[in-house]
Amino acid sequence: MMFGGHLLSVLIWLPIIGGFVVLFFDKQAETAKWLSLVVSVLTFALSIPLWTGFNLGTAEMQFVEMAPWITTIHAQFHIGIDGIAMPLILLTTFTTALIVISSWTNVAKKVAAYLGSFLILEGVMIGVFCALDAVLFYVFWEAMLIPMFIIIGVWGGPRRVYASIKFFLYTFIGSLLMLVALIYMYLKGGSYEISALQNMHLTLTEQTLIFLAFFSAFAVKVPMWPVHTWLPDAHVEAPTGGSVVLAAIMLKMGGYGFLRFSLPIAPDASRELDWLIIAFSLIAVVYIGFVALAQTDMKKLIAYSSIAHMGFVTLGMFIGFQIVAHTGRTSGIQLGLDGAMVQMLSHGFVSGAMFLCVGVMYDRVHSREIKAYGGVVNTMPKFAAFMVLFALANSGLPGTSGFVGEFMVILASFKANAWYAFLAAITMILGAAYTLWLVKRVIFGPVGNDHVAHMTDLNGREFLVLGLLALAVIAFGVWPAPLVDVLHSSTEHLAQQLLMSKIAP
């Protein structure tokens, strides 16, 4: 095994240490860029063996490492991955490498600090996905906020201070309640091991309180309606790279948290409160779909579209209980969970690509307003082809990854209740409406103004980034089997955990 079984540690610490080293090259921007590129590409390359060496047949944690850490509270440096964490880690390393490439020329100040922040953020995020100890998880979870706060606060737009503080407060307050829940369980069970927490007996009242505490942390991150309003503000002010990492990876933390903590630790409370999540998810799909229609700022529009798409994630995760209640069978639970995971990964590619597309245009015209564009296809045909592809993926076109997760979740939710599927399927219309209307106003039409007339088509670097994302979007749309196979054992195990009551006998 590579690195003597310490591959995950390497993946966490390589970008973090690399990031700190990059910070020192403040005066030598070129060196900083090349060093960042090497670190990010190397991290991605090293993450590939996680997939190739992954054992599909087990739900047990793999690539496990354990070391004593804070012995007084029995917290350990315990990391490992299953089929749920592994694809998210690959998404992280892939996206970060793309962000470094795409930031090559468009960061005006402090390039070294900018790229260093992203590398540190990458390591921390990988840490979140592979932490098997709740304290370790919590540390990474909160540490993630710092580089993101800096990225928005330093390189952001005019209202960056408002946006970054809103982002910080929202996510921080939610996380504190999660910490309270973790400490409560530690005091009760004497361990911070996530697997121990998952096996701990808890009364329904305990579970409900713990569920709500977790919910406040994860729902904000997803973000679910009605705690979503920080996201459009954060996206609008964040620089392109910040938006990409926010949309592609950070939102997935919430979904990951539901899968790793809420559902297996508090299955009974999840069953009791699933109506709440389902209601919020469906509101996200329909309500936010309409809100997206009214946006005039491209980034806000895509941000709202993200919220609507993430509604499918939470819907797919929590639909299982009602499937059992309605049909008396368990078939469909796993379809919902798989669908939620696929939707998260696809959203990582598609929304990341959409934000990069906006970034490409912003670099040329310095406006995010839809009105500032029109007829971009005339001057940027290659770019237009990519943008149309990603827009179609965003509206859930079969053959692109955007379809797969939505399709699975709609199929699963019909098993629970035809009306859920009805409301969820409205995205077929709304998603196409807001995305393709955007395309019509920005990409198609005669050349809108002088700025558009002077836009130059994609350079090689931009082409590479969008091309790689396009390949991913199409590959997982045409053949999602390899991805779903990775999830299989873990979601099957999770589906069993959901059905097992944890209320003490």
């Binding site: 809103k166 009605p226 309003t229 309500y287 309409f290 809100v291 997206a292 229609l293 009214a294 946006q295 049909t327 078939s331 469909g332 639970i333 796993q334 379809l335 798989d338 669908g339 007829g375 296809v377 005339n378 149309v388 179609l392 509206s395 076109l397 079969p398 053959g399 379809f403 797969v404 399709f407 699975m408 709609i410 199929l411 939710s413 019909f414 098993k415 035809a418 599927a421 009805f422 399927a425 409205i426 077929m428 219309i429 196409a432 409406a433 393709l436 209307w437 019509k440 990409i443 198609f444 039409g445 005669p446 053949w479 999602p480 089997a481 779903v484 196979d485 999830l487 299989h488």
Partner: protein, 651 residues
Amino acid sequence: MQSIYLSIVLAPLIAALVAGLAGRLIGRVGAHSVTILGVAVSCVLSCFVLYQQLAHGLAPFNGTVYTWMLSDGLHMEVGFLIDHLSAMMMVVVTFVSLMVHIYTIGYMADDDGYQRFFSYISLFTFAMLMLVMSNNFMQLFFGWEGVGTVSYLLIGFWYTKESAIFANLKAFLVNRVGDFGFILGIAAILRYTGSLDYATVFSHADLLTQAQIHVSSGIVWPAVTFTCICLFIGAMGKSAQVPLHIWLPDSMEGPTPISALIHAATMVTAGIFMVARMSPLFELSETALSMVLIVGATTAFFMGLLGIVANDIKRVIAYSTLSQLGYMTVALGASAYGAGIFHLMTHAFFKALLFLAAGSVIIAMHHEQDMRKMGGLKKYMPITYWTCLIGCLALIGFPGSAGFFSKDLLIDAVGQAHRAGATYAYYCVLLGVFVTALYTFRMFFMTFHGKERMDHHTQEHLHESPWVVTVPLICLAIPSAVIGWMTVKPMLFGDFFHGSIQVADAHNVLERLGEEFHGSGAFMASAFLGLPIYLAAAGVIAAYFFFLKYPGWADAAQKNFNVLYKILIDKYGFDWFNEHVIMPAARALGGGLWRFGDQVVIDDGLVNGSAKTVGWLGSVMRYAQSGYLYHYAFAMILGLASLLGWLVWRS
């Protein structure tokens, strides 16, 4: 054989990718060569497959190509079902596509997007083949949305034209409304039968009949009716049935070759094909079939009327397409699926022919499409004229032509049906014959006969189109003339569709018609005893007098029936309703939810509100921390007093 099926699908895909990605590299000739080669390979192989099936009894193929996904024990696969129905569709699709490819060389000769266009139409052919060859619902949906997407790209092909990019968005969204129903239907099928594979679903159809859907407290629907109606809503979108028809006339903003290929011959018939494919399910729901019948009849008659007042030559044919799609739908609703598919086939040939002929006229007229500026083109364009005449005769059901057999049998079948709405449908399709003949020959006379109304410059340059245009016209004119005569007996009264289409014995109107059918010739002779043929003749004669001999009559009729004329010109107000009610309402709802829901209630109320509350608390607390010792002393005394008071009161 599997490699042959795979080649049929992949040849156009590869060609599309080459022409699309390396278009600049291979140039114009390279682009059209590679795509024509790809489609020609598909066409030849499709014909080979059909021939093998018919002549050598090749058994239907039902197999998997690869596993798309395996989740929760549900196998979703990409695979083919090649029976007579799909083989016939493959031949029609690839043949028309091949003709359109060749034609495009002439039609798009001066266009900057030449390679892009060829890439798109090849990609379309791929998606359409995936649709018709599918053996499961997932792939059906893939093809379904795939053709819709290429249609979106092609309607907006001239992307600087505002009307074109409005039309393509409209087409996509209206289709998505249909797909919304379609995906719910697919979800219902999975819910009740546990599979998305056609064969498994059909063999478990009884599970669907036993199940019920609780719509709300007290309201319960049979699951099979719900499912079939959902699937049919999908078909209504794609096959442009009222009220989801509104996108099709606007789709004429795209270049004419795709109007022929996509918006007449192939894609718009996908809904008809799908319902026929799902006949084992639709047969189980009388309610759903009645809905199909009524929607189809309404489309057939009322959309035909619009063709009488339109002046754009392509729009006339577009309304005609709507009306003919309505005819096919009526046949499905009457359980005469075979008749619907038969009309689909004949219509594919003659309607593609009519569109391409119109395109030929449009080239000659320097992209003028208004028939009021045409006239007398017969002498300039003889090949276009004669082939177009064949297409028109087929469309109105002139005895012996392809359309005659399909339409007359279809009308007879509807007459035999005993289902709610059947009488209404019968009168709609019968009167529709007159309407069809009227608008068809109005168009024909206004274009090719009468006074030459074009400007002098255009008139000087009028000439017949090049061979790449006329050869496809001739190739399509031949089947338009003879295919009905040749195939009516085996297709409708033989066992051609045996195994592909299932009809309950009680509904089998075609079998009843078959007992009276004694060959094509006899059928033609007996047609003179029926009404349709006289209605068609009346339509042609009316068109002759109103639009050729005495054009003043048409003006007078317009004045005397002004209200009716206005209704038709406004297209029954569907577009007005969408543009003035639905679209503003959606935008206002979005804006309202955003400004009020997100900004006022959530942000100002909850988020900034809680921030303000904290701030207010702080400002109140500030008074408490004044720094004066006597304030603190007073507060302590007050606190002590109240504490003591409370203790006393408690005891």
